[in-house]
């Protein structure tokens, strides 16, 4: 006597985003803390020393926030005009910032008044940074020049006038006190050596450059400008390595994750994309409410701070390990260990005669009814609300099973208004799903056949049938459009293929195309395997 074989519920491949290690990592953040600033947030910089405060430059102020505070721990307000680029020195003691009024101010993190004011630029200064020896300051300005200043004497050391447009980004080397790189709206990025008066390397990005980033090893340089993010190999004389075009608006900011494995880019298109630095593929994507101007990652990726044009600062903190565990634990309370172990840890003695207990087969409700050949009840069980909404594949599998047994018509017939409307609402929800369509179309046809005579008797049912008709008409329109698109693509591919000696067309080239079409299309076979 074989045991009853339960209904086979197929496992469908998940549509949409796939779960990878990266998505798990980057989703493990709490809900964002949002802070309203006074204007667009142009720069965020983390202090290199603990407790890793961060300076947020917005409008005429620079706020310094603690790692977990929602109120600024410190505010610098002594700017005449819009402040730019507030950055910490590597010891976290000093902070430098440019300003629209062309004056560069140097602050002590503990004080309020500027320690030094560097005057010399003629236009707004958008770029400021400390060199790695901590005694000099690099500035870049809209007057096309960049300058080096000496902190102790507050004097200008050198002026570089090589760019032909605004300088909007710049970075100093962390390993060499004399090296720094600037990017300008004249599409070039230049590498300068303080020991010579000229740039030592120049690279063409192709777009006005908005942001620069050096890898920790400083062998690779990343530049962002326009919609492109480009990676340059400095050790090979500035050879371009990769050009990434994953945003559809200007990329404004770049950041590197703490282990150097992931590169983040933020853009005006409201997305932050995470790339793997080994193959430069996008592995994750964040969405924000407004265009993003600035982005920073705390050391160890403890938090992601994003500043937007609508002057909202969004801070996401990483979940602590206990918290992430708690959530999964809360979902289901299991019986205590004692209940499980009860009687099972008994070890039989040598001469004991073992009477094995028959293994009890656990069946789902609908399977129990199917086993008894109660077809209507089986369908009712499968259409219970929480099953219907959460796993639509279960009712579909049961309908398929009933169809296979040749008893679907019996199961569908003889229903009252309430039961029928429940069935119809399920059909409306899932009829056009390509995974379920072949099964549900049969059921829908049967329902129309069975209940044709009672049409017009119930307003509820009539309304649902009209909705279904509407849905099907729309679906047919979709199909037509998709076939048209497919036809167009076919001709394009056919013309772009090189002529072969043997006249044949490899469908392999057409395969990715099939996948690219939205999943709504009904007549495509499911290419992917389904893992059981």
């Amino acid at each position: 006597m074989a045991s009853f074989k339960p209904t086979n519920i197929p496992v469908y491949p998940k549509l949409g985003e796939k779960v990878t290690q990266d998505t798990l990592y980057w989703k493990n953040y709490k809900a964002p803390v949002q802070i309203k600033e006074f204007g667009a947030i142009t720069n965020i910089d983390f202090s290199p020393v603990t407790p890793h405060n961060f300076a947020v430059t917005a409008f005429t102020r620079i706020h310094i926030y603690g790692p977990f505070s929602q109120e600024p721990v410190k505010t610098f307000t002594r700017f005449k005009d819009t402040a730019y680029c507030g950055r910490f020195r590597s010891d976290g003691q000093l902070l430098v910032a440019g300003c629209e009024d062309s004056v560069v101010r140097l602050f002590d993190v503990g004080g309020k008044v500027a320690l030094r004011m560097f005057r010399g630029h003629t236009k707004a200064v958008h770029v400021t940074d400390f060199t790695s020896d901590r005694y000099q300051i690099l500035t870049g300005s809209d007057d096309y020049t960049c300058r080096l200043w000496d902190i102790p004497n507050a004097t200008e050391l050198n002026v570089y006038q090589e760019h032909t447009d605004y300088i909007r980004c710049g970075i100093t080397s962390k390993l060499n006190r004399d090296l720094f790189i600037t990017g300008s709206y004249d599409h070039t990025l230049k590498v300068f050596d303080a020991r010579v008066d000229k740039s030592v390397m120049s690279m063409d990005h192709g777009q006005p450059i908005e942001s620069l980033l050096l890898y920790p090893s400083e062998g690779l340089l990343v530049s962002a400008g326009g919609r492109y993010v480009k990676v340059w190999d400095l050790l090979k004389g500035g050879q371009p390595l990769v050009s990434l075009r994953n945003h559809h608006k200007t990329v404004t900011c770049l950041a590197l994750s703490s282990n150097g494995q992931r590169l983040l880019s933020a853009s005006l298109d409201r997305h932050v994309k995470v790339y793997s630095t080994t193959n430069y593929k996008v592995v994750h994507n964040f969405d924000y409410a407004a265009s993003i101007l600035s982005l920073a990652l705390a050391p160890d990726d403890e938090s992601i701070v994003v500043g937007m044009t609508n002057s909202i600062l969004s801070i996401k903190h990483r979940k602590s390990p206990e918290e992430s565990r708690e959530i999964s634990g809360q979902q289901r309370r299991r019986p205590s260990y004692r209940v499980f172990v009860k009687g099972k840890n008994y070890v039989p003695k040598q001469d004991d005669y073992l009477v094995s207990k028959p293994v009890k087969q656990y069946l789902a409700k609908y399977d129990k009814q199917l086993k008894k050949f109660n077809v209507s009840k089986a369908l009712d069980c499968a259409l219970e609300k929480w099953i219907r909404l959460r796993n639509p594949e279960v009712p579909v599998a049961v309908i398929k099973e009933l169809d296979r047994r040749g008893t679907l018509k019996n199961a569908l017939a003889g229903r009252d208004e309430q039961q029928l409307s429940r069935l119809l609402s399920f059909l409306i929800g899932n009829l056009v799903d390509m995974r379920f369509a072949p099964v549900l179309v049969v059921a829908a046809e049967m329902i129309l056949d069975i209940y044709r005579s009672i049409l017009g008797q119930s307003p509820v049912i009539d309304r649902q049938l009209l909705r279904m008709q509407d849905l099907l008409e729309r679906e047919i329109d979709y199909q037509k459009e998709l076939v048209e698109v497919l036809g167009m693509l076919d001709t394009m591919f056919a013309s772009s293929l090189p002529k072969m000696e043997v006249p044949w067309i490899s469908s392999a080239t057409l395969l990715p195309l099939e996948v690219a079409v939205p999943s709504k299309k009904l007549n495509f076979p499911l290419e992917g395997g389904i893992c059981i």
Partner: protein
């Protein structure tokens, strides 16, 4: 068979065991059932076949325990004989020659020395009318008895054995045919007839399908075509008979049976549910559902402890009093059923395949299953559930069928295709890939691909992967595509392991691909598109070349192996066998033959072609490189052969004859039109088989009862105590001399034996402990010789026996001398041996001359 006397076509197992009702012996230890031309005796506890009762020359149609001796069994056969057997030892006791085909056999304890058999009415084989006759079995000592005195009991009965049954204590016999029930009372010598209307109001069929009589009560139970069971009473009156109706089955009741005490009635049918009705409380029933396939027969052991049901999938289930299935005897599942309706008419849809791991034959089994059948042991190993759905036993329901299956070279992957075609709806196709699990030693489902193609899959094959390459599967379909599937590493973290996904889709001018084949080194893939064969490189998916031989679409395609791997062979629908050379991309040779099946031996260069001619199938075995066939066999069987396979042998044969060499490494098995599994054997193999079957001695152990458990230990200890003594006595027995002498003594008929005085000395001599001392031995020999010579003159009639004794002694001497030669000998011994040799020579030579 004329041209090659030493290669025979033989029937290889898989015979039906569900043809007739099985019989359980009185002690419930054995189960006997008719199987082809023999009766098989199975053990009810171990499910093993203990022995075959062989002797009938045609289909056995009935088995019956002898009512007066529960250790003997009658069997009847179409060959016109009834045979009496001792089933415990498998000995034929008597053969009664009836003279006309016997279709079933009945007996009752009340009718001593009489059996009742069903024979054709006019003694004619083709007659459609049958009668029940009584046969008086003559009491005589002879083994072969003519008993042609038949006295008719009932005429116009059904040939189905289920339609006749003996009533209470053999007082009456009930027989049903069509719509009529006849009851014949032996005492009154009167028969009553009851008939039913053809259809009742609800349109059910009233035809009788089976009859059973209550053992203690006057009650007859009949099964009907519409699933009803009627219980007839008062049937010894013409008018006042009554019946009550039981209805649970929704299709015809195929078998009915009362338990020995008459407390329960068992019934079964297509639903494959065994229903147990309480007698007189019919509303109470017990069910034993899901027995696997339609029930054809039910039998109960005489003590009522065991039930057994035979099923239409060639299976016998043994059930302990309607509670628990205790054993299943499963033969090769025949897939003849249902398929008659579909137009293809082909019953085994998957090819015959050999599992590379277990060397078992794999083919369609039960619906939705693949069966693994051991060819060596003629036993079903197991059924693999492919469809994994509850099978609904209902007529006219379209079910999923396994239509294709393929193994990869190492047997780690199995690919199966199942499909279900409804009248209106779309075709449902699933491609499943199974991985072999070392721990559970079975196949585990890895990937299910629903709708792999838009139309039916025509062919499927695995790449013969050498270890480094990843495995690959190619499937071709009627939708004009062929697809390559590859094992892909998991893309996301949720997946447990690697699964299969599509790697490449290929087409050729929108033609329909029919067959595909990988070359032996798997560097080439050949796909045939109607008349065109395309050759692809599976690594880069480039079309390398196309080969075409216009008339007729390609039907079969296969690459040569080993030294012939440069050849590609194909057969076309227009009776052409083509051989292409892949190095020159040209046709090497072609010949006109109507080949229904072409297949390559995986272990040699040989190819087998089954060729259909004038309703018969011929076999040709050839090498692609040689123009002359290695072997040909005309008229292998009638009808076309569409399924065949080369199964590798366990042990290589070392025949060097030219025409049987091709059978050395592997054996060719094929399925005939009637689903008989046939094979080719050589003479040497036959002899060996015969010898091995004689050696087989079954030691039937004592049943495991609580008493056994209690007493077994005690006895075991006793045995151990006895052991030293028994080992002493055992030392004596292995003497070749003595055993031969005793055998002669016991087996020779008494009337040809010499006088006891002569035998006595010989017998005593044979019991003596063997003399290792050679001189003693020689003396013995001398004595025997003298004796013999003296006797020889007197008795000429014993010539034969004497010479055989002499021969055995001779053998013994040579054995002893050989034994002595082995250990290191002292000088004295060597000297003596030399002396002995001289002596021996002289007298031996003399003996040989005489």
């Amino acid at each position: 068979m004329v041209e090659h006397g030493d290669i025979r076509v033989v029937h290889r197992g898989g015979s039906k065991i569900d043809f007739r009702q099985p019989v359980i012996t009185n002690d419930s230890r054995f189960l006997l059932c008719a199987s082809g031309e023999c009766v098989k005796v199975f053990s009810t506890s171990t499910e093993e076949c203990i022995h075959d009762l062989q002797g009938h020359t045609d289909l056995v149609t009935g088995v019956l325990l002898r009512p007066s001796n529960h250790l003997q069994v009658y069997s009847c056969s179409i060959d016109g004989t009834v045979r009496l057997w001792d089933f415990t030892d498998g000995i034929l006791i008597k053969t009664y020659v009836i003279g006309c085909p016997v279709y079933s056999i009945y007996a009752s304890a009340n009718h001593e020395g009489v059996i009742f058999i069903v024979v054709p009415m006019l003694g004619d084989k083709r007659s459609e009318l049958f009668q029940l006759v009584a046969v008086h079995l003559p009491q005589s000592g002879d083994q072969l008895v003519e008993s042609r005195e038949l006295s008719a009991v009932l005429s116009n009965v059904s040939s189905n054995p289920a339609d006749i049954a003996f009533g209470r204590g053999g007082e009456y016999i009930a027989s049903a045919k069509g719509l009529q029930l006849k009851v014949f009372f032996f005492k009154k010598q009167k028969s009553y007839e009851f008939s039913l209307k053809e259809d009742n109001k609800k349109g059910g069929l009233n035809t009788f399908t089976c009859v059973a009589c209550h053992p203690k009560d006057d009650c007859i139970a009949t099964g009907h075509g519409d699933g009803k069971i009627r219980l007839w009473r008062n049937f010894n009156h013409k008018k006042e008979y009554t019946y009550s109706t039981l209805h649970w089955h929704h299709n015809a009741v195929s078998s009915l049976c009362f338990t020995p005490e008459g407390t329960n009635l068992l019934s079964g049918g297509v639903e494959s549910v065994l229903v147990q009705w309480r007698y007189n409380q019919e509303s109470q029933r017990d069910f034993l559902p899901r027995l696997g396939a339609a029930i054809t027969h039910i039998a109960v052991s005489p003590d009522g402890a065991l039930f057994c049901t035979s099923h239409s999938d060639n299976k016998i289930t043994i059930i302990q009093s309607c509670v628990k299935v205790s054993a299943v005897i499963q033969g090769l599942v025949k897939v003849l059923r249902l398929m008659a309706r579909t137009k293809e008419g082909e019953s085994v849809q998957t090819d015959l395949i050999v599992d590379p791991r277990s060397k078992a034959l794999v083919l369609n089994g039960k619906p939705g299953h693949l069966q693994f059948y051991s060819l060596q042991r003629d036993k079903l190993l197991y059924n693999l559930d492919i469809v994994q759905q509850e099978y609904i036993h209902e007529l006219g329901l379209e079910q999923f069928e396994v239509v294709k299956a393929a193994f990869d070279a190492s047997g780690t992957w199995l690919a199966t295709v199942e499909e279900r075609k409804q009248k209106s709806a779309e075709l449902e196709v699933n491609l499943k890939l199974w991985a072999f699990d070392e721990q559970t030693q079975s196949f585990v489902l890895n990937t299910t691909i629903s709708a792999p193609h838009e139309a039916r899959i025509t062919a499927m094959c695995f790449r013969q992967a050498t270890d480094s390459q990843t495995t690959m599967l190619v499937s071709t379909s009627k939708d004009g595509h062929f697809k390559a599937w590859q094992l892909a590493t998991p893309a996301h973290t949720e997946d447990e392991g690697p699964s299969w996904s599509c790697d490449f889709v290929g087409t050729y001018h929108g033609l329909v691909p029919e067959c595909c084949c990988f070359s032996a080194d798997s560097s080439l893939l050949a796909v045939s598109f109607q008349e065109v064969v395309t050759v692809w490189s599976p690594t880069s998916w480039e079309l390398l070349t196309t080969l075409s031989q216009p008339p007729g679409a390609i039907r079969d395609l296969c690459f040569g192996r080993l030294s012939c791997s440069k050849y590609l062979l194909g057969t076309t629908a227009k009776n052409l066998l083509c051989c292409w050379n892949l190095l020159t991309c040209s046709l090497e040779w072609s010949t006109s033959m109507d080949i229904s099946l072409l297949l390559a031996d995986p272990l040699s260069e040989n190819m087998a072609a089954f060729c259909c001619q004038a309703g018969c199938t011929d076999l040709f075995v050839f090498k692609p490189s040689e123009p002359r066939p290695l072997f040909s066999h005309k008229a292998v069987c009638s009808g076309t052969v569409t399924r065949a396979v080369f199964a590798p042998r366990e042990k290589m044969l070392d025949s060097c004859e030219e025409n049987s060499q091709w059978l050395n490494r592997s054996q060719l098995h094929f399925l005939t039109q009637y689903m008989d599994l046939m094979t080719f054997t050589t003479k040497a193999e036959d002899d060996r088989l015969m010898a091995s079957s004689k050696q087989l001695v079954i030691d039937d152990s004592v049943a495991m009862t609580p008493f056994y458990l209690l007493l077994g230990k005690h006895r075991h200890q006793q045995q151990e105590n006895q052991d030293p003594m028994s080992s002493l006595s055992a030392e004596r027995t292995p003497l070749p001399q003595s055993s031969v002498a005793i055998k002669e003594l016991l087996q020779t008929p008494a009337h040809v034996l010499p006088s006891t005085s002569f035998l006595c000395s010989m017998f005593v001599q044979s019991l003596l402990i063997s003399v290792t001392d050679l001189s003693g031995c020689r003396e013995n020999n001398k004595k025997a010789e003298e004796e013999m010579e003296s006797e020889k003159e007197e008795e000429d009639s014993e010539q034969e026996m004497e010479s055989s004794i002499v021969r055995s002694e001779q053998a013994a001497v040579s054995v002893q001398s050989a034994e002595c030669a082995a250990p290191a000998l002292t000088k004295a011994q060597v000297r003596e041996l030399r002396r002995l040799k001289k002596l021996d020579h002289s007298w031996l030579a003399g003996l040989l001359d005489s």
